[in-house]
């Protein structure tokens, strides 16, 4: 059988600018819909629409594919149709100060309540002192004063009268009172008293004793009168303050009468104001506490007032449901925080220092997070899951959560949460979370799987052109002409590694547009044309391909040994791809094999030294199975073989070189040389079928570059799996060389086809007994394996001391 090389047009799926039907992108309408992501969009639609627990979304796809932009766009479209969620506020809890209360209010009412309460405090600060300055209050206080004044005075007056009537005077001392007998309005001296008759003396002493007891009783009543006085004053103050407060609260109660929680709160405010009315009556600033002789003001947050309303979430300006993206999803940024003020080494806080997190802001709407960022921030993932599982946002410091501190801090009332969480991330993270986090599957039931590429149909190509136009206008760069657009489309097919597909990687597409525009600018061009795009591609490669250049140089200088002409036994040009960041390139790699008498093992040297990955090892075992199946069905395989990638000092993984390894091995067994002007890539199965591989374009270009640098002979080329034809989007120079017959790409479906190309011999078909023609490659291999088998038997017999009787046929 002969295998014909591919035609030039098969090596590159070109985009004809004339098929695009426009001159420049200025003629194209913006593309408003998302293309190529039907599966993901349907999943998003479903995930957003379903209201049951656990139907949060995980949007998966590679970085740069535009997940975040598309998801946010879609969410915003839906959010506009959704109702605006409630405002949330924190207010003082007058009975338990460390447990601020949460108030839910209709959107916009939070700010209104805050402003109304601030105004109320202002009004109270004016009205309460005024109410205690007015004449009515003063008169009533005066009346109470006089009542008690009179009561006390009349008690003393009465005592004075009685004393006077009994000839006794009540005199004041510096610290109290004393009683003295009077004679003619003057007190009696001790001598005069002694001169009085005994009866008179006793009468005076009795009178003084009795009056003294009454005086003592009167004085001891004073504290009781004082207490009664204070109670009356307090009652009066309460009446006056309640009257004033009621007047000011009435309009508020009317305004918020439909909000029961606000009405209750206002009731609590009233009770607290009346209880602390002295705070409003004080016209001077509070005397600051002195510490170490230094007077300082108490540290309070600038907005602190016990009647302040801390508006945590204000949706007055929100249209529809909120769509929030938190770029730095730390634990505190997600669930909120309680801030503190420092004063002399202590930390103080109050409910006005509670700050919202992203969950609060997104409550009633959507929260979009990058899952990698969440996982990299300590405790953020656990905090997020806890909120979703418990359906509430509980603001708790990390120190409290970890029991690192036991000081009193705030415990704000938890706020119920109703949010649709959308995580974005790559596939690996999604599957890892699914595998190792048992809560993940319960909380994120909807996966919106973004496609990496889509079909390059005619319609899709036209849509893609509109996409390019939309991005170009969005990024404010030059218009592209049809040739430029066509070149971009081709490059996106190359990016998709498939001529029949277009990459949906928006990040790379935008970068290409930016860089093409730059080169057009360098060229003083008004539009971006195909050569600007090509320049952008070439320059991008050039910036990244130093390693590739070094490898090529080492090959040219003979440091890395690669033949591109002649023949060698047991040596094949294999092809590898290296991925360095965003850039990948191919390079030939010499694969050699040895074969000798043995017991049927094919040794993969890479695996033996732990430089071979499991897929590579599997591929070598497959080719071992192929050998056995093709050549050793009825007898043991008396062969020991080794296969290795020469001059390879890093990890080898993948099975794309298995056909090359098999060809090298068969060459080693049969001693039939392999053409070195050809390189080969492809994966084989046990039956010898050649399977598709990745990076086919890079691999071909890698060998081409070696041959091209040395000078193309016209005989060189690459053997690839036929299944990879659709993936071909080769460089222009490779396509040109193929067109000119200087380089060839051969598609194969079986190992035999590859062997024929590499050896020039027919592979050979087995007869009914499984024997291959003697002059075919398979026949030569078969013959050699039979020889090895006989040798093995001989050696086995010698070892046992037996002689082998030769048989002749």
């Amino acid at each position: 059988m002969s295998i014909n090389p591919l035609e030039a047009h098969e090596l590159y799926h070109a985009c004809n600018p004339e098929d695009l039907a426009f001159a420049t992108t200025a003629e194209l309408e913006d593309l408003t819909d998302t293309i190529g992501q039907d599966r993901a969009l349907e999943a998003i639609d479903f995930g957003v629409g379903i209201k049951h627990d656990g139907y949060n979304l995980f949007v998966l796809g590679s970085t740069g594919i535009g997940k975040h932009f598309i998801v946010t766009n879609e969410l915003q479209k839906r959010a506009q149709q959704s109702p605006v969620p409630s405002d949330w506020c924190y207010v003082n809890n007058f009975s338990e100060y460390h447990k601020p209360k949460a108030l839910e209010l209709p959107a916009g009412m939070g700010k209104a309540l805050r402003d109304d309460m601030a105004q109320l405090v202002d009004d109270l600060q004016n009205a309460i002192p005024a109410s205690f300055r007015n004449d009515e209050y003063r008169t009533r206080v005066q009346e109470i004063n006089e009542e008690f004044d009179e009561r006390q005075q009349s008690a003393f007056d009465k005592l004075n009268e009685e004393a006077k009537s009994r000839g006794i005077a009540i005199l004041r001392t510096p610290t109290g009172y004393t009683l003295a007998p009077l004679r003619d309005d003057e007190t009696i001296s001790p001598e005069e008293f002694e001169s009085l008759p005994q009866e008179e003396q006793e009468k005076i002493e009795l009178a003084i004793r009795e009056l003294r007891d009454k005086l003592r009783d009167t004085i001891r009543q004073i504290p009781t009168w004082q207490k009664e006085y204070r109670q009356k004053i307090k009652q009066l103050e309460q009446e006056v303050s309640e009257l004033t407060v009621d007047l000011l609260l009435k309009p508020l109660l009317e305004k918020y009468k439909t909000q029961e929680n606000v009405v209750n709160y206002i009731g609590e405010v009233k009770v607290d104001v009346v209880k602390n009315v002295d705070e409003f009556r004080s016209s001077e600033e509070e005397e600051p506490a002195a510490l170490l002789g230094i007077k300082t003001k108490k540290a309070k947050s600038p907005e602190y007032s016990p009647y302040h309303v801390n508006v945590l979430v204000d949706n007055s300006e929100t249209k529809g449901a909120p769509v929030i993206y938190e770029d730095n999803p730390t634990y505190l940024n997600l669930v909120g925080r309680i801030e503190h003020l420092s004063q002399f080494g202590t930390l103080l806080t109050d409910f006005t220092l509670i700050k919202p997190g992203a969950l609060h802001k997104a409550n009633g709407g959507y929260l979009v997070l990058d899952v990698r960022k969440v996982l990299m921030r300590g405790f953020a993932w656990e905090g997020l899951k806890r909120a979703l599982s418990s359906h509430e946002i509980r603001i708790e410091s990390l120190e409290q959560m970890l029991s690192l501190v036991s000081t009193i801090t705030l415990e704000p009332e938890p706020i119920p949460i109703n949010v649709k969480l959308v995580l974005t991330g790559d596939r690996m993270l999604y599957y890892l979370l699914n595998e190792y986090d048992h809560e993940f599957a319960r909380l994120f039931k909807v996966a919106a799987d973004f496609s990496e590429d889509f079909d390059r149909s005619t319609d899709n190509t036209r849509l893609y052109a509109r996409l390019i136009a939309s991005l170009q206008r969005r990024e404010k760069i030059r218009d592209f002409d049809a040739g430029g657009v066509a070149r971009v489309i081709e490059q996106c097919a190359r990016r998709a590694e498939d001529g029949e597909k277009l990459s949906l990687h928006m990040g790379n597409l935008v970068d290409l547009l930016h860089e093409s525009d730059y080169w057009a600018g360098q060229d003083d061009s008004k539009v971006v044309s195909a050569h600007h795009v090509q320049n952008a591609v070439d320059k991008q490669i050039y910036r990244r391909d130093q390693i590739r250049s070094r490898i090529q140089e080492s090959i040219q200088r003979g440091i890395r040994m690669i033949d591109s002409t002649g023949e060698q036994i047991a040596q094949v040009n294999g092809l590898t791809v290296m991925q360095l960041g965003e850039y990948s390139f191919g390079a030939p790699s010499r694969i050699t094999a040895t074969a000798r008498l043995g017991e049927g093992e094919v040794i993969d040297i890479e695996r033996e030294v732990d430089l071979g990955g499991p897929i590579h090892s599997k591929a070598v075992m497959i080719l071992s199975a192929y050998l056995a199946d093709h050549y050793a069905r009825n007898c043991p395989l008396s062969l020991s073989a080794t296969v290795v990638f020469e001059q390879s000092y890093g990890m080898i993984e993948g099975d794309s070189a298995s056909i090359a390894e098999l060809c090298a091995l068969l060459s080693a067994i049969s001693s039939v040389p392999i053409k070195q002007n050809l390189a080969v890539t492809g994966s084989i199965n046990q039956l010898g079928h050649v399977q598709a591989i990745g990076g086919v374009n890079e691999k071909i270009e890698g060998f081409f570059d070696v041959c091209d640098t040395r000078g193309l002979t016209g005989e060189q080329g690459v053997i690839i799996p036929r299944a990879n034809i659709k993936h071909l989007m080769l460089r222009y120079d490779v396509v040109d060389a193929a067109r000119q017959g200087k380089f060839h790409i051969y598609p194969v479906e079986t190992v035999e086809q590859a062997l024929e190309l590499l050896t020039g011999l027919a592979a050979g078909e087995p007869d009914e007994e499984g024997n291959y023609p003697a002059d075919s490659l398979n026949g030569i291999v078969q013959t050699r394996l039979d020889e090895l088998n006989e040798l093995r038997l001989e050696f086995a017999a010698k070892a046992k001391g037996e002689t082998i009787i030769e048989t002749t046929s």
């Binding site: 003063r138 206080v141 005066q142 004063n145 006089e146 008690f148 004044d149 006390q152 005075q153 003393f156 005077a169 005199l171 004041r172 001392t173 510096p174 610290t175 109290g176 009172y177 004393t178 009683l179 003295a180 007998p181 003057e186 007190t187 009696i188 001296s189 001790p190 008293f193 002493e205 003084i208 004793r209 003294r212 005086l215 003592r216 009783d217 004085i219 001891r220 004073i222 009168w225 004082q226 006085y229």
Partner: protein, 256 residues
């Protein structure tokens, strides 16, 4: 006779005794002395009745704060009075220094408030504090000067003093008309004179016995002090000053 154009006060006598509430009187005296640029003389009164009664065999004291009883002697009372006078003297000196006024002190042994009048000497004003047991703090700042006007020259001097006080201290004046019979210059004219000099003035008529009718009048507005002509006590019952001392909530200022 018209009111004096300005108050001519050279000396102010402040009567202080252990029985009275001296704080108001002290503040009034300092304020007056400062406004009128007069010398202030503190007069500490040692009650002879008290000293004599302390020597009686059954003499004891009932403490005002607690009602507890303790025995006393003359020595104890003398020491207490000395301690009290030292304290008050220190306070007065401090306040006088702040107000930049000249202040001296004297101690007298006296029994009756009325006999203080004989101690005035060259002093134009005698300030007597009240002795009501005031356990409740007044809620309004006392800013009204009450003036007992009977048409006498001392009453005219009182008008001038009230005018000075009102204009310098933003105080109002209530003029109590106690004129009887025909007087050359009526209380109404005195009120008009005050008004012309920029003073807010009200006029009230005194009816009946002063010791009964004055206290209710002084309750109408918070009284800073009551200006009384010097001869007024002699025209009334002998113990009028004591009665006023017991019934009023403000110092009484006797004007010569």
């Amino acid at each position: 006779m018209k009111p004096h154009r300005e108050a001519k006060v050279l000396q102010i006598l402040l009567a202080l005794d252990a029985a009275s509430h001296n704080v108001d009187a002290l503040q009034t005296a300092i304020s007056l002395a400062s406004q009128l640029q007069a010398e202030l003389i503190g007069l500490f009164i040692e009650d002879m009745d008290l000293l004599r009664s302390a020597n009686l065999p059954f003499a004891s004291e009932i403490v005002a704060e607690s009602g507890e009883e303790r025995l006393i002697t003359t020595d104890y009372i003398e020491r207490a009075l000395r301690a009290w006078s030292t304290q008050v003297q220190a306070q007065l000196t401090r306040e006088a220094r702040k107000a930049n006024i000249k202040c001296t002190f004297r101690t007298v042994h006296n029994r009756r408030i009325e006999t203080l009048l004989s101690e005035t000497g060259e002093s134009n004003l005698l300030i007597i504090s009240h002795s009501r047991h005031q356990l409740f703090t007044p809620i309004r700042k006392s800013d009204v000067v009450y003036l007992l006007f009977d048409g006498s020259s001392e009453a005219h001097h009182g008008v001038a003093i009230a005018s000075e006080m009102a204009l310098k201290g933003l105080q109002h004046v209530v003029l109590i008309d106690s004129c009887s019979g025909e007087v050359e210059y009526s209380a109404k004219k005195a009120a008009d004179w005050l008004t012309r000099h920029g003073v807010h003035v009200l006029t009230q008529k005194l009816q009946g016995d002063p010791d009964k009718s004055l206290p209710p009048l002084l309750k109408k507005y918070p009284a800073a002090l009551l200006l009384v002509p010097a001869h007024f006590p002699s025209q009334q019952a002998p113990d009028i000053l004591v009665k006023l001392q017991n019934k009023l909530n403000c110092p009484v200022v006797i004007v010569r």
